[in-house]
């Protein structure tokens, strides 16, 4: 079976969906960050595939930028996570409900 663009796109979509489910289900902050990484990376796959399909480098450029941004997001995210852990000794989402309404 020839693996075409559609397969990449379907894969990408499935990964994206997994990421979404992860975002919704995870109660641990760290795992939540993982889920967002899956989201972004699923898109990267699609970008790379489409880029190849069109024979155009723009998609790959986009993918690189997404990777870069994902990396910096992780940096900031982990920083916040560590501070939170230091202060509260937990990274459970349930601990962050002081503001509501």
């Amino acid at each position: 079976m020839e693996i075409g663009l559609n397969h990449y796109l379907i894969l990408s979509t499935i990964l994206f969906a997994i990421g979404l489910v992860g975002v919704m289900r995870r109660k641990n902050l760290l795992l939540l960050f993982f889920a967002t990484e899956i989201l972004l990376n699923s898109v990267n796959i699609a970008f790379a595939a489409i880029s190849h399909y069109y024979g155009d480098l723009t998609g790959q450029m986009f993918a690189f930028f997404v990777i870069a941004i994902a990396a910096s997001e992780v940096a900031v995210g982990l920083g916040l996570l560590i501070v939170w852990y230091k202060r509260h000794g937990t990274i459970d989402l349930e601990s962050m409900t002081s503001m509501r309404g």
Partner: protein
């Protein structure tokens, strides 16, 4: 001549304002004297004007200034002195002068003495406007003005709940009629373009009968209120709570006749619509009988006289309705004299009896109150229409008019009523002045009124006796404007039979009254057979009309008002407004939990948003792609 017009008009106003200056101060005798003098000067002016008119002088017409002018409407303060108004002016100023002087004595011990004169003179002023105005709007000013003064005077003793209640009742009932009057005015304006009598009367001839009928009906509704015709009559009897001079002036001689005046003034209208006139006459005859019947059994001296007033107003309307305007006006004048006299006499009795009103508790007063007795007897004779007193000339002419116009039912009713009138009048006289001195049981020591009060009443006494001689000159004066013919019965024989027959009938009624009540000796306690008969109860309770008004109008009005406020206004109108506000607020309260503060929930909301949008997109995308097929299916389903 104009200066006399102004004096006649404004002297009462000056009097009123002058007295009003002292309302806050204790009683000042001179207030009454000055007021009386000013009213007297109005009387003198009126007399001079009467002379002028009697001499065949031109009617005097002045226009002081614009009152209202907008669009097409132009209403000035215009006044006219013609045959009709000068007659009314004479009646008003004469009776007023007498009542003013009388009141100095009557209100002697009242702490509202000064206030009383302010109101009384204000009334005279309003009444003068009413009768002198040259347009309907001016008439309406006076119309409402007398209503206001009547309110103030009925409720003069405002500490008495019943008096203020009666005052409000009178005012409100009059307002009901005034609405009719107002509508009549609007009709006149929009159909003739003016409210001036001259212009309007001139234009009436061109209007169709239907319009004229409506105008006539609405104006008459106004008249019904002021003249207390059925069914707006109840206020008049209750108005007797006011001081007796007020009853004499307002509720006997002048204000209540304003309705009659209106019909007479609008004679050019009513002569165009005889069917309305017939209705007026029929109502008048009915009221005459109706009121007289209630007077038969009443045990309140003033109310009896009030009913008799009502009855006599019925006569006047009967005459006016039949087109005998001059007769109505003449009866109005004559009635003013003897009825005022009767009331003032009753006032003397009341004073003597310490405000006791039940004639059954009096009796034998002629010994101590000789002059009052004479005056009241003569007034009653005049009222009963005994020759040669005033009533004979005026009332008999009404009967003749009815007869001559071939309205036999009306004639018959009026004739029968004449008998009743004689009976109840003398029932009253007999109970008060004759028989045993029942008042002694109650420990009252009656005394005659001040001499000057009696002297003040004497002109009325004289007029009640001799007013008949004015009939001919009066007719001569008003015939030009009221275009009236003398009513002549076809044959002299018939006339004589009628006259004598009437006199005998009335005389018998008087005798019967004397026989039955002349030697009365006990105070009825409600146990006698007659007092328990149905008819007696019906009459005594005024046909249960006040009761019906109370039960079926006043109470429901209260209840509906209460319901409208507490239920409709608060529970429906206001609650729905608050409900809208509350809806938004509670929507916020109920959905704020969406913001649970839990990050997981927040993320779910975002994803949910995307999913909703996506599914909408899918639906839409599919619909767009397969729009053709969908259309086919839908059309197959017959959509």
């Amino acid at each position: 001549m104009e200066k006399y017009l102004y004096i006649a008009l404004f002297a009462p106003l000056v009097s009123s304002l002058f007295s009003a200056l002292f309302t806050a101060t204790p009683k000042k005798q001179f207030v009454g004297i000055v007021a009386s003098f000013l009213i007297f000067s109005a009387f003198v002016s009126s007399y001079i004007l009467l002379g002028h008119i009697m001499d065949g002088g031109e009617p005097i017409h002045v226009e002081m200034m614009t009152w209202m002018a907008t669009g097409n409407l132009y209403i000035p303060f215009g006044f006219v002195v013609d045959q009709i108004s000068v007659t009314m002016m004479m009646v008003v100023t004469l009776v007023s002068t007498i009542v003013h002087i009388y009141s100095i004595g009557y209100m002697d011990h009242d702490k509202g003495f000064n206030r009383f004169f302010a109101w009384l003179s204000a009334f005279v002023f309003s009444m003068m406007i009413l009768v002198m105005s040259d347009n309907y709007a001016g008439l309406f000013i006076g119309w409402e003005g007398v209503g206001l003064c009547s309110w103030g005077l009925i409720g003069f003793w405002f500490h008495k709940d019943i008096a203020t209640w009666a005052a409000n009742e009178a005012f409100i009932m009059n307002r009901i009629a005034d609405l009719g009057m107002l509508i009549g005015l609007f009709l006149v304006y929009w159909n003739t373009g003016t409210l001036q009598y001259e212009g309007a009367f001139a234009a009436f001839a061109q209007l169709d009968t239907a319009t004229l009928t409506w105008i006539g009906i609405f104006l008459f509704i106004g008249a019904m209120g002021k003249s207390a015709q059925f069914p707006l009559h109840t206020w008049l009897a209750d108005a007797m709570e006011g001081p007796t001079p007020v009853s004499a002036l307002i509720h006997a001689a002048t204000m209540v006749t304003a309705g009659v005046y209106l019909v007479i003034r609008s004679n050019e209208l009513y002569s165009l619509i005889p069917h309305v006139g017939l209705f007026i006459a029929s109502l008048g005859a009915f009221v005459a009988l109706f009121a007289a019947s209630m007077a038969l059994v009443n045990r309140d001296m003033k109310r009896i006289i009030a009913y008799s007033t009502l009855s006599q107003l019925g006569y006047m309307f009967a005459a006016a309705g039949l087109g005998a305007y001059w007769v109505a006006l003449f009866h109005l004048m004559a009635h003013a004299f003897f009825k005022a006299l009767l009331f003032l006499g009753a006032g003397n009795v009341m004073h003597a009896m310490h405000d006791e009103l039940d004639p059954f508790k009096m009796g034998g007063l002629k010994k101590v109150m000789k002059w009052t007795w004479i005056m009241m007897t003569i007034a009653s004779l005049a009222l009963a229409g005994i020759f040669p007193f005033a009533g004979f000339f005026s009332k008999d002419t009404i009967l003749e008019a009815a007869f001559a116009e071939h309205h036999m039912v009306i004639y018959g009713v009026l004739l029968f009523t004449a008998g009743l009138t004689a009976f109840y009048s003398f029932r009253l006289v007999a109970l008060i002045f004759h028989g045993e001195e029942r008042y002694k049981i109650f420990g009252i020591h009656p005394h005659e009124a001040y001499r000057f009060m009696l002297i003040a009443m004497s002109p009325l006494l004289i007029l009640a006796m001799i007013a008949g001689v004015f009939q001919a000159p009066f007719f001569e004066m008003v015939e030009e404007i009221l275009g009236a013919a003398e009513y002549h019965i076809h044959s002299h024989v018939t006339l004589w039979i009628m006259l004598v027959g009437t006199q005998i009938f009335v005389g018998l009624a008087i005798l019967y009254a004397y026989k039955k009540y002349g030697t009365w000796s006990s105070v009825p306690d409600g146990s006698s057979k007659m007092e328990n008969s149905f008819i007696y109860k019906l009459l005594y309770n005024q046909y249960y009309i006040p009761y019906a008004y109370e039960e079926y109008i006043v109470k429901p009005y209260n209840e509906i008002s209460e319901i409208l406020w507490t239920k409709v206004d608060q529970k429906i109108v206001d609650a729905s407004v608050d409900g809208i506000a509350g809806f938004f607020y509670s929507a916020g309260e109920n959905t704020r939990d969406m913001q649970s503060g839990n990050l997981s929930t927040m993320l779910k909301w975002m994803v949910a948003g995307i999913i909703i949008l996506l599914s909408l997109a899918v639906v839409f995308g599919l619909a767009a792609r397969y729009s053709g097929e969908i259309m086919a299916i839908l059309s197959g389903l017959g959509v």
